[in-house]
Amino acid sequence: MGEVILRASQVTKEYRSRRGPLVRALRGVSIAVEAGRTLGIVGESGCGKSTLARLLVGLEPATSGTVELLGRPVAPPRGGRSPFARTVQLVFQDPFSSLDPRLTVVSALAEVLKVHGLATSREARRARAAALLEMVALGPRFLDRYPHELSGGQAQRVAIARALAVEPRLLVLDEPTSALDVSVRAEVMNLLVRLQDELGLSYVFISHDLAMVRHLSDEIAVMYLGAVVEQGPYGPVLESSLHPYTAALAAAVPVPDTTRHVHRDGRPPGSEAPPLTGEPPAGCPYHPRCALAEPVCTTVRPTLDELLPGHLAACHVAARRVAVAPGAPPVPG
């Protein structure tokens, strides 16, 4: 096992409002990211994946549990800037809303360098900005452009360059390709792979696009209603899923290949979207949508256990099937 860059242990996050119920966005999430590796996080909207992203970079405090970066606990900055900003950076979905429309590319990059005291003179900052652009395969001619003069793919590359300015160890990428045109997504994905190989970066890659998550991630954590329900290496998690929710999610992705749509894929994952707020039902939170649910699932909440080496799932049915026949795929395909 390599060096652990980031570790979250039993993290919970609750939001209280004056009126209305307590919202429990995260219910005890534990994840770890090793140096140079990618953890993919998938799940439907409302599962808590973006809340987790904000906690991981210290933008918000956890209600309970700990987040540690390089062994030091992460806390949100009080007033000033976070001491963790040099270690972890967040890249958002929409590059245009994360770039100041009034700043040229060089000013946006220079601002970061200045704040962190990374380049003292104006010339040094410009030179460093040009070098950062080169890392994301943009030429020096982009230095003096404004965000509106950039395409979506170019703007996202500038946002990545800005995140790299502080030489972080970890990037938290929250849907980094979702706002981009199909033809430029590949370019950003290739860039992320190259940067990881060259700089030894670690990534937390959050997306609802399972094909992209599969492509980039070493490990995948599947979230449902604020909790991780399955976790493990990308291949086993997506291709021989232990949790019926993962299987349903993977089956629901339309594959761009007509030869694979001869039959209707998978089982319908249930008739209702997960509730965005309020309490999930007793027992397993997935049981109302689950085709395999048994009486025990309505009363006892399953724990996330290592059912196969390195492969965790929170499912009574999967746990029993693995115990009975360790070789057989637990969810009928």
Binding site: D181, V182, A186, E187, A251, A252, L276
Partner: protein, 326 residues
């Protein structure tokens, strides 16, 4: 096509300025038959949404307008109907579902009111309208149709609203459903339910479907025939299976290559399409894809290719796929 239910011929959409005309959709021919599902694929700015909006006279006008072309539905020329006649077609015969449900529902009215209003406008009596509203809300897989009926739009999630929009579109039992990225903002599980619902209805009622999307996965899953749009024109049209097996336009081939597929190795380099889609109002002469095309040659800079027959497909490319190997 003789049996076309809805047909677009030479559709041009754009702005008329003092001296010149700026076109965003530059001559589109499309047709959909009874019971057929047509996909329109393209990236942002390709003109796919405007093409869809033009059918029911819903272009944001001014500044945009139908500059030329004929839109025929069941023998009637839609683009020459007056507002009243067009309103009778809308909803009852051709229904449209938009990408963003929040902007197409009235925030001040209960869901029930909005659906029954549409039905009443097309001649249903109060009891019929109420009955049909309950029925369609159940059909789109909403778990608690009675609650949804009484709700205001802000009380529902995005997925629920999109299903309400689809229910509303289906309430009038239209013969053509035009859907503009209706599932793009939704989770894949909800998307799957909606695709299944549309397929079911389509099989049961013979409704024709025009599905506008950028998602090739949805195309593979849902439609029979695909039109790929680029820079305001259809650059390839083919049966879905043919398009995926043998793309006839380099842009289609590049789009397919840029997606991680089951056969793509983990972290392998994906095929990039260099550059970005052009602005269709500022095109130079020649093929608008030639800047990004690995197979472009002299002719491509001189003359924009028309849609040419390529086996069972049509593609706007001077080179046959067999000649792509430079």
């Amino acid at each position: 096509m003789a049996d076309a239910l809805l047909e677009l011929r030479g559709v041009r959409i754009g702005m008329r300025e003092r001296r010149r005309q700026r076109e965003i959709v530059r001559g589109v021919d499309l047709a959909v038959a009874v019971g057929e599902k047509l996909g329109i694929v393209g990236e942002s700015g390709s003109g796919k949404t405007l093409t869809a909006l033009s059918v029911l006279g819903l272009l944001p006008s001014p500044p945009l307008r139908l500059l030329a072309g004929r839109i025929t539905y069941d023998g009637r020329l839609l683009n020459e109907l007056d507002d009243k006649a067009l309103a009778a077609v809308r909803g009852a015969e051709i229904a449209m579902v938009y990408q963003d449900p929040m902007t197409s529902l009235n925030p001040l009215l209960r869901i029930r009111t909005q659906i029954t209003e549409t039905l009443r406008a097309h001649g249903a009596d109060r009891a019929e309208a109420a009955e049909r509203t309950r029925q369609v809300l159940g059909q789109v897989g909403l778990a608690d149709p009675e609650r949804v009926e009484r709700a205001f739009p802000h009380e529902l999630s995005g997925g629920m609203l999109q299903r309400v929009m689809i229910a509303m579109a289906l309430a009038g039992s239209p013969r053509v459903l035009i859907a503009d990225e209706p599932t793009t903002a939704l989770d894949v599980t909800i998307q799957q339910q909606i695709l299944e619902l549309v397929e079911d209805l389509q099989v049961r009622t013979g409704m024709a479907v025009v599905w506008v999307t950028h998602d090739l996965g949805v195309v593979a899953r849902l439609v029979d025939r695909v039109a790929v749009m680029y820079a305001g024109r259809v650059v390839e049209e083919a049966a879905t299976a043919d398009l995926f097996a043998r793309p006839s336009h380099p842009y289609t081939a590049a789009l397919l290559g840029s997606l991680p597929q089951t056969s793509t190795g983990h972290r392998d380099r994906l095929t990039q399409i260099g550059g970005t889609p052009p602005d269709p109002t500022r095109l130079a002469a020649g093929c608008p894809f030639r800047w990004r095309c690995p197979y472009a040659f002299d002719r491509c800079t001189e003359e924009e290719p028309p849609l040419l027959e390529r086996g069972s497909s049509r593609a706007a490319c001077w080179k046959e796929p067999a000649a792509w190997a430079r």
